[in-house]
Symmetry: D2
Subunit: 323 residues, 4 copies
């Protein structure tokens, strides 16, 4: 298992009421140093604009090298600038759509320089807020065309589309696992796939393990994974394992079963917590479950889910955690 | 617009606490007669076993003829018999899967006799309840194979897969619009498509209008539509328009825009209401919105959603309904 | 800890699609025998009408004695008869309200004969389904008056009001913990309190532990507790511990902390499961957590929650269950 | 009907991804001028710190006078400063609790100077995020004591507690209507009551009209009202009437029925919209419904809800809005 974090998780995090954030913002090097100190973490995801641009790529690359960290993905910033406020790839304004594509090209250039093969695309502003606000046909079509251009131009880069049902819009175009898989199939390039964020999947009342299996089954489209936790009704971005246990056990069973070889990347918003400790705890939780999943337990689970007796499955989990 | 109802809506409806139901069960002819008396209704959906079997097809056909009603669809019963309790098309038991396919064949035969071209497949028991209960790969594969056999054998019948996120299982395999579209694409027959149930779509936090557009855009897969209403958090199966207005306005706009030519079929569970009146009110609501949607208003809405100004859209709706 | 089950959990359970139920109905004695065989169970809750009436009280009492079981509560049946379909205590029909009160009197008589001190009142039909359907002032007032009469007449019986946000109505009058505490305070008898059902509390986005504390703090009103599990969005009535772990740990910590001395009673709907095993597994889960909660761990948790460091709390839980 | 807006609604609004906000920030006078220009608006709610402090009270008072606006309430800022990040009234730190009380005193002084009689208290940071993070007994007790001090000291001011289930914490202490009514009753001063925010109430699966009635019935505690709209699953703070219609009709019926004489105050977060137009549209919607509610319609609705026939109620609403 390869563990990563999103660099900005170590920075200050704000909400709509406290826009200055709950904490202080460390320097970039301080955050990178902290990341490197988290037990098990060897990779970093960088947000475009915030963390890296074409102008400071070399500098960032040197920092990563200094702390022996790999750049796992670039997450272009389609969400934190005023110009994207009414959509990026699907904006009604063709100039904005063009800018979104350009932003993706730039991210691909940065990625190549950093020997990073993945662009994680979270088009958070692509969607709508109100009834009778979107012309769905055109906007979904624009979405597809804009994304296709990037995939076309950089065949060596893997583009992972990250879905989330809502926020910041009340409705996103890439809302759920199957919606996004469908978009990837419409784009129809081998280098486009999907990122599952554990919390986004729970928010959509998906079973996260089943979502992962679907992406595996229907075209080998599980490209990347973000981990966090929540109360199923909002993207709370909490510490991994703070709320859910059996769901994580089932998911990690299945990630082994389908031979997922990508990164296990933490994506938290530790608003009021010490971020480094929150991230370390998240990694420790996943490692702890992984230690449970011996070949013997893998076999036992496999037999149980082929039988389908819920009481036996519940008893197995209980015996694993309670003596 | 062609209006239909599901015949059983006129019968007794029970819940898990009051299994005898809140009302008395009328005779089949009484229900058919009532259906025919609802202003605007010219079609009927029949549930297999409950309403029609291969043994009484002729008799049912004569009743429909007597009351001048068209059979809009057959809904095979994959949900109300003990044998389907742990799944039909995706059951771990191959004999049950075989029975589900046979049930579908029988429904197709009945449909052909009744000059009905649509089988509405709601595989309500296909899914799972607990974590670590389903072997997703195999069960989804069985689901696809079983459904494919029916589509293959009856190319003249249209098979519409009706999705619903949950209930009676806590998780269904055909859970949302895109999941089901994906299954239809995997089955890959021209005669397989999707049924949208308004309430099921709301339950999944979908925008129903967008769901309809997606089915249109990605393969002409919008085969059928069920109408009802709910509070967005459960399939309450309430009277159409009792809760939602603007969502229905937007949906009916789009059904015209994408030239939906199928049936507008009511699917309520009027537990404590006079069923005939509840259904009549549902049809009256849809007709009322339809009267609003003059070519002028269609144009006006089209312009608004191309502009995307939420305040203007809200104001338009307000002026339509409040003087 | 004293464990109980609701007798009907061992019987057949139906849903609105499969009204005959997924299983066969055992005899009453068979169910009582099964209950007695579940490790740790010494108490039984009986549903009025289904399990016990004034006419068979002695016979039921003898069966309980034969199997050495205590009657923990009577749950009068205000939900599974047609006459309650539009409300019992708050019905618009004064005759129905009178019947609801009479039903409660009868349950109190039965309880006294069985040396049972608790009536668990779940007024599932008291509420409404639609906008503009209820005259809230009158109906809430009737609710209070009807309930008050029972509390008045049987001062030696404890009346525990069980809340649930919805189902079978889309909205219940006793919807959440605080709503129900408020009703108990309005009734203003020392012998009226509240039952928390774990799943009902989750459904209302309550923190179950906090709900228990509220009832303790504001008038010693925590009278009874039902245990089960769900996915937070519906009353799925699943096996205890099948979904939630840390919530149960926190709850059991608090039940010790506030010195809850009532019953730990299982309330499942094991539709497709072997009921006896599902109930036994539920009890085993609670016992397993209880074993964790040594005085040392109680102290440790108490210190942690006074500090409020979420990462430390998460780490503690992780270390308890993962090595 | 007296209409107000929260001044900050006219300013820039940010979310956690776009902390700079989607728009530009106008000057205070520009916002006040805009407010005054909205048809029907005669009152303003001011947020402490943001809009008014003890140091600029006179200046703000003069601006209000200049534009002929009344100060409807002061909303002290317990949410947008780092120091409140882990709670204000219920903070584990007694110094912070003291500061929260001081902040309330200052708001009361400001209010008195502005001839404003209402303090709207939204203790957004008072709650918790994680399991095992809060010591509920102490923190709820501190909450009550801190709030009591303010009510005690300023008997001439009305303190309205605004509830919201979550955000920015995952769980708030003042979460729902009944919880907050209970807190008001525990504080036990005649000058403490409750603010209902339409969207907060929907988020809690409350029927907003019923919530208003409860506050009326159980102690005359309905002090204030905020209006907006959402999709029931989050506090989207949308334009009034953009999503819900019948719920607003029922609510306004009941506000008349219980003779609510307070303000109708808009509370939106028009992230991407022209704020002035969004607020004006909100007021226009409420006025439009109010025009429907003639004495004749009031009578008709009263008769209907005493009868409880959902189909008739739905038909009435349909005929009101669709010809």
């Amino acid at each position: 298992m390869k563990f990563a974090i999103i660099l900005g998780n170590l920075g200050n995090t704000c909400d709509r009421f406290l826009s200055s954030g709950y904490k202080e913002q460390p320097t970039k090097e301080a955050m990178i140093k902290q990341a490197a100190e988290i037990d098990g973490v060897t990779g970093i995801e960088l947000v475009g604009t915030w963390d890296v641009t074409k102008d400071n790529t070399d500098e960032v690359g040197e920092l990563l090298a200094k702390y022996d960290l790999e750049c796992v993905s670039i997450i272009p910033d389609y969400f934190s600038q005023k110009r994207w406020g009414k959509g990026a790839f699907s904006s009604k304004d063709p100039k904005i759509r063009e800018q979104a594509v350009e932003e993706t090209y730039e991210a691909a250039e940065v990625a190549q320089k950093l020997n990073c093969e993945l662009i994680n695309i979270w088009p958070g502003q692509d969607g709508y807020d109100y009834p009778l606000q979107a012309y769905y046909i055109e906007e979904r079509q624009w979405m597809k065309e804009s994304l296709s251009r990037a995939c076309n131009k950089y065949p060596g880069i893997r583009f992972a589309l990250e879905y989330k049902m809502k926020e910041p819009r009340t409705h996103s175009f890439l809302a759920r696992c199957a919606d996004t898989l469908l978009m990837a199939k419409e784009i129809n390039h081998q280098n486009v796939g999907v990122t599952i964020d554990f919390g986004h999947s729970l928010l959509a009342y998906e079973n996260v393990a089943e979502a992962a299996v679907m992406l595996k089954m229907y075209g080998e489209k599980l490209f990347h994974f973000h981990f966090n936790d929540n109360y199923r009704a909002w993207d709370d971005d909490m510490i991994v394992g703070s709320v859910h246990f059996v769901e994580y056990l089932e998911l990690l069973f299945w990630l082994k079963e389908i031979e997922y070889s990508g990164w296990y990347s933490m994506d938290l918003y530790p608003y009021r917590e010490d971020a480094k400790r929150a991230l370390a705890e998240s990694v420790a939780f996943i490692k702890g479950i992984d230690r449970l999943l011996t070949p013997e337990l893998m076999n036992e689970i496999r037999e149980l889910i082929k039988e389908g007796d819920a009481t036996k499955s519940t008893a197995l989990v209980r015996r694993l955690i309670l003596k």
